[in-house]
Each structure stands twice: as C-alpha cells, then as structure tokens.
Symmetry: D2
Subunit: 317 residues, 4 copies
C-alpha cells in the first residue's frame, strides 16, 4: 500500500524546568530555538525545515505529550481521520496555531501512545545572522555548536501490546517492517518500521505484560561518526554521562549515542551513518534472533546500548 | 503524482579492454564482481542488493549502452510501456535473462538517451567467504577494499534539449526537481531530480545546441568523507589523477571525487555525506544563479569540479 | 638529563601457533611481514622504518621475550652497558644478526622485565609491489588492509615494584614522567613515561604485592579515530571481541581499542589521536586521583578500558 | 649535535586593523585570546601551554616582527647569545615582560629574518569557565569553536639565500633536514627542518635572487582531516576563500588548508595528520625532485597548494 504518512514530524514533551532543559538542548547539544511562547520552546536541528521537531512545555512533571507524523498531503489527513473514526477511535481536532507553526491536526491515542497527524506546517527561515549561504542548508555552520543535531530521525516507543501496535502501524499507516527481533522465547520483541528510505522512522519495543506504554527516545541525525565522538567528549566536559554508546547497532547498522536531558529525562539518541537507506520496493523484513546478536536489552555490534527504561506520557496517570 | 519509478537500477557500459577496466573497478576501486559471463562483467557495491548496478561489456569502443531504473512494481512497468507507446515512443522488449539477474525489461530512447525499465531482479547473496555477519549488510568489511563503493547513487546526463528532457522526467516518470541552476544567460542549465529521498537520482545538464546526448557519470556512495579522501590517496598511489575533487558541491551539498576508468573513460563520482535527504512532500525546487555560485562548469562550495565532457552512447554513431 | 634512549624499538614475543598468530596480526590487523626465518616472523606497521617492531617466535607457550629500545647512538649503547654493570646488573650480549635486521644488542632483566637495547638496525624498503610512491612513506595505501597499524607507539608493563621501576626508568634511562595516577590509598599506581614527544613510550602499572611482572600490551598508532572504529567493525566481522574500547583515555587523551591475538593472548592497543605531543622542556608531571577519574582499573574519558590482566614473560617460570 | 632549541614558540605580527584581525583569528578560526594589553593581543590554540603562540600588534602596516624559538633550558639561551656574538651577529636583549608572559629574550637578524630566542615563559591556565576537566588539556571542548586550532606547528620562510640560511639552521641551531626539494635546475629550493619529532618546525623556501626575505605562513595543528574540511566549510560560510587546499602535501605527507587574515594578510596553514613523526636518531634527509612531484610551486599529493607569495617583515623597508 501507499502510505498516507510522509515523515516523522515532531515530539511534544514537557519538562519541570524549562530553563535547564534549554541549557541542555540548546547550549549543550546545539538545538536551534525557533521561538519561545506561552511557556513552550520550539526547537529544531540545523537542517530541519519545519518550524520545530521538538517542543518543550514547562509543566509539573516531565513526559511526552504526543508524537506527530506529517501526512503526504491534506487529503491524506482527512482520510486518516475517517479511517480512525471508522475503526472506533476517538479523534481529537487540534486547531491551526494551537501548536506554533502548525495548521490543523488530529490526535488519537492508540495502544496507549498519543499520536498526532498534520499536513500544514510553516517552514521558517533561519534568523538572518545564522542563515547559511547555501540554499539547501538552513543554519550556517559558521558559529554553530560543533555537535548540533542535523535533523530528526526516528522515535522509539515501548509497550506490552507491541505485536498489535506494529500490525496497526503497518495495516493502517502503511509503515513497512524493515527489521525485527525475535527473543529467546520465540516471540517477536522489536519492530523497526519506516515509510521513508531510513532504516526506521519508528521502532516499537515490546515490554513485559503490565508495563505502561512508554516513550523511549527521539533520535536526531548528525553528519558522521566524528560528530558522535565529539558529542561524547563535549558531554564529558559538561559532566553528563551518556545513557549508552558511542556504539554501532547491529539492527539498522547505525552509530549511536544516547543521552538524557538532566531536567526532564527526555532521552535523545544521536544517530550517524553509515546505516543504510532502503530504496527497494520489495524489501523483505530482516529478522534477528537472540542467538545471533544476544539478548534484547543489549544487542549491539560495537559498544553498549542504553538502559531500556522509557519515559511516561504526560497524561498517563 | 506518485512515480512509477522506485529507484535507479544500473548502468550498462562497454569498454575496449575489459581486463583493464576490471583492474580499475574491481582492484583499484573495490567493486564486487557478481559474475562474468559472455564477455560481460556484472558489478555492484558493498551494499547493492541487486545482482548488479554496473555492467561492463567488452566491445570495440567505450560508451554507455543504457541507464536502467527499477519500477515500483510489475504493473507499473506495463503501464509505463503503455504510456510510452501512447506517446509514440518505440518500446523495445528485453527478454528475462538477457541481462543476467534481470527479468523482463523495456527500453526506449528519449532525447537521445537510452533508458531501460525493469521490475524483476535477482538479489544474490555475497559469496560465503565475503558475506557479512550482519543481515542488513551484504559484503563483509573484513578484507574489503578500504575505498569500496557502498551503493549506486545517481547518474548525470547531458544534452542540448535538457528543458524538454527534464519536463518529460517530471511529467511522465514522476521525478521531482530538487534543485536547478540558472546560468548567466537567464536560462536553466541544470536539473537535479529525484523519486527517492536522495538529493537526486538523475541530473540533467544542458549543453550547447548541436552537442550530442552524452553520459557524464554514474555516482556511487561511500560512507563518509574520510573514505573519499582515502580514495584520493589510493588513486595517487596508483598514479591515477582524479577528474575533479575532492570537493563539496554547493548543489546537493555532497562531497565528491570524480575519476575515470583509464581503459574506457567511464567516469565514476564517489559521493559522500553530509548532503541531505528529503522527506518533505511539498519540496519547492531550489534555484541557484551564476551570481551566487559562479559559472555552470565549476560552481563548487569546496574544491574544484570535473571537466564537463561526457561519454557518448554506444550506438550513437 | 639527556636520555641515552631514542625510541621504543620492538617487542619480541612467542606464540604456540605461529600460523594462527600470523592470521591475526597479518590478515586481520594488517601488519606487514618483513621476513620469516627459523620459526620467527618479523612484523612491522605501514610506517615503521625499522626491520621489525614485533617478532613472533613459535614456542611451547605464549609470552614476551623482551622489550627493546633503541639508543640515540652507538656510544650511548656502550655507556648504558657500563652503567648497568656498574649498578651490578648482569648484561647479556646479543650478537649482530641473532635477531634479524639488528646489530649488536645488550639485554638486562630489571624488576623482572627483560629489556633489550640496541643501536644498529636495518631499515629495509617495502617490497617493490607494495612500495609507496611517496618517499616519506614506506608501504603504499593502495591494496593495504584498511585498519593496518602505522607505527609502534608504546608498551605497558605491570609489576608489584613499580615505584622503584619508574624511578629507575627516570634516573638511569632518562624517561620523563608525563602523567601519573594516585589511587584511593594515596599511593601512586601508574606512570606514563617518555623520551619522545609522545604522551608515553612506556607505562608502568602497579600490581598488588606478590604479582609477577607482566607485559600488558604493545600499542600501535593508526591514523585517526575512524580507523579505530573501522577496526572494531572488522574485528566484529571476524568474530573477535575487543578487550576494551573503542574509547578515549583520560590519561594521554588518546583514543584506544584493545584486542588480543586469539592464539597467543598477546594484546595490542590500537591508538589514535588527538592525544597530545609534548615539546615542553620543563614538563611538570600531571597527576590524577581516583576522585577525579575513578578507580585504577577503568578511568576512561569515553568508553570502557580493558581488563588489566597481563601476559607473563617467556622465561618467567 | 644536540640542539639548543626545544621548540617553535610564537610568531609576533602586526596588523593595520586589530579588531578585524581578532574577528578572523578569534571569531572565525577560534583562537583563544590570553590577554590584550597596550594594543597587542596575545593568542594561542586550544592546547598551547605557553602564554601565547601568536601576537598581533596594531600598527600602520601588516607584517611579521619576529619568529621565536624556545631553548631547551636557560643555559642554552646564554650559550646561544655567546655563539651569535662570536659569529659577529648583533644580539638585541629583550627585557622580561616586554612581551607579555615571557622572560628575558634575545633577538638577532639572520639572512634578513628576525629571530627571537627565550626560555622563561608563563603557562597560564585557561579561564575557569573554559577550563577542561582533563588535566592534560587546557581549554574545554564544550562551547569551543569547532575548527579551533590545537597548537602551533611550524613556520615557513622565504629568501634568496636559502642554502646559507638552511646551513646555519643546521650548524648553529641544530635543526635536522628531514626533507628537501631539488628543482628542475638541479638546485635545492626547499628545506623542511626540525628539532622535534614533527616533520618540520621550520621550512625554508628559496626565492629568486633579489627577492626580499619573506614570511610565508605560520601553521597550526588541528585534530584530524575532518576539522580541516569543516574549516573549509566554515570559511565558505564566512565568504573567505582559502589560499590553497584542502589538500595533502607530498612533502611531510600532511593535510593542509591555507587561509589569510583579510585585515593583515597573515597566512595560517591549518595542518592535520596523518603526516608522520620522526623518532629515528639517524634520519637521512628525503630528497624530492621536480620529476617526481612537479614544479616547486605546486607539488601536492592531493589538491592544490597556495600561492607562494609571502608577507614582508615589519621593519623591512
């Protein structure tokens, strides 16, 4: 099927200390702040064209409010609303401008995860003094933080109903399973799914029964491994220990470094090449077993992965 | 429109000295030879899943026989045949197996360029002693040539009728123009077009009136700039001077090194990140002018580009 | 004082399975074999000018036979012999040619470690088909193993009498202490010492009382971190797990990867920049405490270090 | 002979516009300003221990005032003064503190080049908010300019009496010739000379008879080639074209990028590995001929070198 989804859009999160979170995301990691209004900071990477790919709202407690995907056109958004209603899912309408830079959107909760879909979005230019001379860039490299993330890459979610969740992502949203992981127990425990050429736009990680749905991380791409290694060094100078890495995943084959915002616990995975891009129209899912790459919690090709404890959703209580 | 094309497939070329061309492509650059049969060598990069992305046939003279794109499914191939016939273009059927590893295909000559389209293709595994332990890789890094290309990236063609050619690529084949170049004369002189997330799968470069249609280069992606720089060093040890680079393009923003097979003149562009990927469903073409990036023959961001003299097609006389 | 020592020369080791050790050092890591004679293989890195920097002799059991330093001239070698005899140390003369490529040498056992000193040494060219076109290189990059070590960097020894050992290295051999580590117990536990601009040519690591003198590793320099990361990938393809790293040391500030020959247990540290070079004639030793960088066994800046279990000397029983 | 010289110390230059020069050196390139006093700015790289390795004095016109080397101890400085006087060279005494951070020094003009020698020097710490957590670093990577030079590497001088100049550097100052270039005319035209393990601390380039002695560039080392490539990109964003490179020298084998301060014309070469280090006590000079590497003005291994037009000395009129 042709997917109604064009790409991952953004993650909306909350933090108990916006100033400290901005120190981490803006000053340490080098995110750009598009604007800050009504207690919400809107951030993006150096090459994110959209208004924001991460929003941080000051709130009583940390968490993720929603994960947003952009549809391939405006009609696809309305079709999606119809599909959700037809399957009995409550659809919440979000007015244009409720999130800065974004047109009308819809939200649904599926398998405990708060999803948003939108099509209309602003693509503001970089401020004049930070604008690149290159038209196909946004922010200039001159003066930029050396480890600044380039663009949003993927999200990673966890729940106890992953097989159903992954099936829905495939059947309704048109995500292809690029890779999957089968545990010691013979059950599938992980799905890496994409609508783009990336190894995944979303990963679903199965947790044991009774676990609440959780948000594990949002990933941003950096240019190459040297940036990832520099990031590890810069973080060490700031006294911030990574959650995992630097390393190279067996699954997706990409280089990684995980680190969390000290204020909110929001976890970011810095992601770099080589990885792979998929242009095959007939991709067969790659399946990995525990025999081949070890247990589900740390099956890396190089280095060590993160702890697999996610962050709750904001309204999860 | 949704494109009938999934991806660039391969380039079929001929060489007057297959042994020397294999020395260049296999021994110097590190291409893998899938098989060699009936005077044709079939080659691919380390991460090219298809049977081949470059074929070299021994022939009286060097040239390019055709440029092949894979359709998104079998039906799209047949629809394309119908579209071509409807527009009065002669469609040549190529039987399954005529090119090793490939099912039925069709060929058309458009604007002087020999295009092929196919859907069915074999994806042979790497030989057991070269197979990577990673399922999402093909060839192992162990023992591999250090500058071995990873995957085919794009082709670059030249002719005197580029505006019509580019319009056809957009209207009939569904390629999007990602970037274009407007010369001193106010005319468009270059189009970078894609059906995938890459900055381009095909570039069209306008030549002065009277110039025959030419094939300028086929590009292969390597992992990062260090590989490109290593390639320049390895080529120097072999006594082979690059045609251009190492450098970084303003257009596409990618790092490059151009080098030609001494036996055939077939030009390869080694291509590396950062470049950019496009996931925007509403991409507006980026236009560059000579004022901004200099003349059409050398508008680079870093370093110097190649000479813009292409190779003729095989049956062009 | 001006040191009689010019540089670290080589490590002579033995292995129970020379063929398998050669597979590891030559085929996996990319060492060059200068020659192989009388059951001994003489190896060196891509930029090691001397005949060899590592020798592997087939023997009943694995171990290290001696660690050799080159003196700054022939006179310095004789003065050293006189100094050793004056302090009551038995000096063993090694005839020219006993080790291939080497002139007359002397050996002493100090603090349980077998040291060799020599001045005359052959500097054979690379074989014609591997010779670089660059006069200031030895082996060509073309066709070379992508992770091939460049040059010997340092050795790391362990014993229970390190304070005396380090004092002797300073007083008699003229090594400067560049960095040192003071443990939780207030005692010094590590010395990084150099006669060259490198952060260290030799490191001495204190073991608990009763531990036999041990050889921990010999280190080879590679060009940059990318080579180290490639090495981790290539080793994974070979099914060989690193002993530690990739990581970056706090002490010396260099990037590292430790890996051991499966046949002999001889441990190699691949070492890369940035690190630092010292040209200060009045360097003050840098001292680190456990408070600052954690316990003596794993005080890394990025990543994890190796197990600190060394290899015995060959005639240590 | 053992050299009285320990290392290259600094270059003292003048600029007609100190503010603009500081914009270039500090804001664009990322030099650290140790202090600024009496119209002179004292700068150093991220890992330069000494008070400064470059000073910029505001003056009517741009030029270089002197090139300073540090002696191996205080006695060597006095011996050097005696040697110069014995050979009839006028020795000018510079009082402690005349140059900030520096003790007593002596100056001589040799072959038209103004040399300074000193031993006592301050090694101030980095400001607290920029101090690295690593004792063996000075400035922290966190917040630092991504292309900031690490340490002074070498200087390159030009004159019409280079054979005599090079002989004096060898005979009196103890520099070893590591590499040299013999031109088409059979004459030596370049000398790369060192007292340290670097490929050169000073290069002497012969100009045609009648040319005034000139200062060509001062070189700073960066960590690796990626930093050099990033520098090219950052310079392009600033609209500053390099004078040469990025490229790799045949002689010294190092990667380079040349760029000049727009205000003063002072040329900096950013220098990166691999290059080579020399620890051989019996190094034989490597000689290159025009046959092997092309003409004296552009004999590079990769890329193109700079124009070979130097800057005059300040009091040269």
């Amino acid at each position: 099927m042709s997917s109604p989804i064009a790409k991952l859009g953004h993650v909306a999160a909350s933090t108990p200390d916006l100033e400290e979170s901005l120190w981490f995301f803006r000053d340490v990691l080098g995110f750009n702040v598009t604007e800050r209004v009504d207690g919400v900071a809107y951030l993006r990477g150096m090459r994110d064209w959209e208004h924001h790919t991460l929003s941080l709202a000051e709130a009583d407690r940390a968490g993720v409010d929603h994960v947003a995907f952009r549809t391939r056109d405006a009609a696809a958004l309305e079709e999606l609303a119809g599909t959700f209603e037809a399957e009995g899912t409550e659809v919440t309408r979000v007015a244009a401008g409720e999130e800065r830079g974004q047109g009308e959107a819809i939200r649904v909760e599926k398998f405990g995860h708060p999803y948003e879909f939108y099509y209309d979005v602003e693509k503001p230019d970089a401020p004049a003094d930070q604008r690149s001379k290159l038209h196909n860039r946004l922010y200039s490299e001159a003066g930029a933080n050396r480890i600044a993330p380039r663009r949003i890459d993927h999200v990673h979610l966890q729940d106890a109903v992953s097989p159903d969740h992954a099936a829905w992502l495939g059947d309704v949203l048109g995500f292809e399973t690029r890779e999957r992981y089968r545990g010691d127990d013979g059950e599938l425990w992980g799905w890496w799914m994409a609508v783009t050429a990336l190894p995944h736009d979303i990963a679903i990680h199965r947790e044991t029964a009774g676990t609440d749905p959780l948000f594990h991380h949002v990933s941003y791409h950096v240019d190459d491994f040297d940036d990832l290694w520099d990031a590890a060094d810069v973080l060490a100078e700031h006294g911030i220990a990574p959650d995992g890495g630097p390393g190279r995943h067996a699954i997706t084959q990409a280089d990684f470094l995980y680190v969390s915002d000290p204020a909110s616990g929001i976890r970011v995975e810095l992601f770099a090449g080589p990885g792979y891009l998929n242009f095959e129209p007939d991709w067969e899912p790659i399946e990995w077993t525990a025999d081949e790459i070890g247990g589900a919690t740390d099956h890396q090709w190089i280095g060590r992965g993160p702890e697999w404890v996610g962050l709750p959703y904001v309204d999860a209580e």
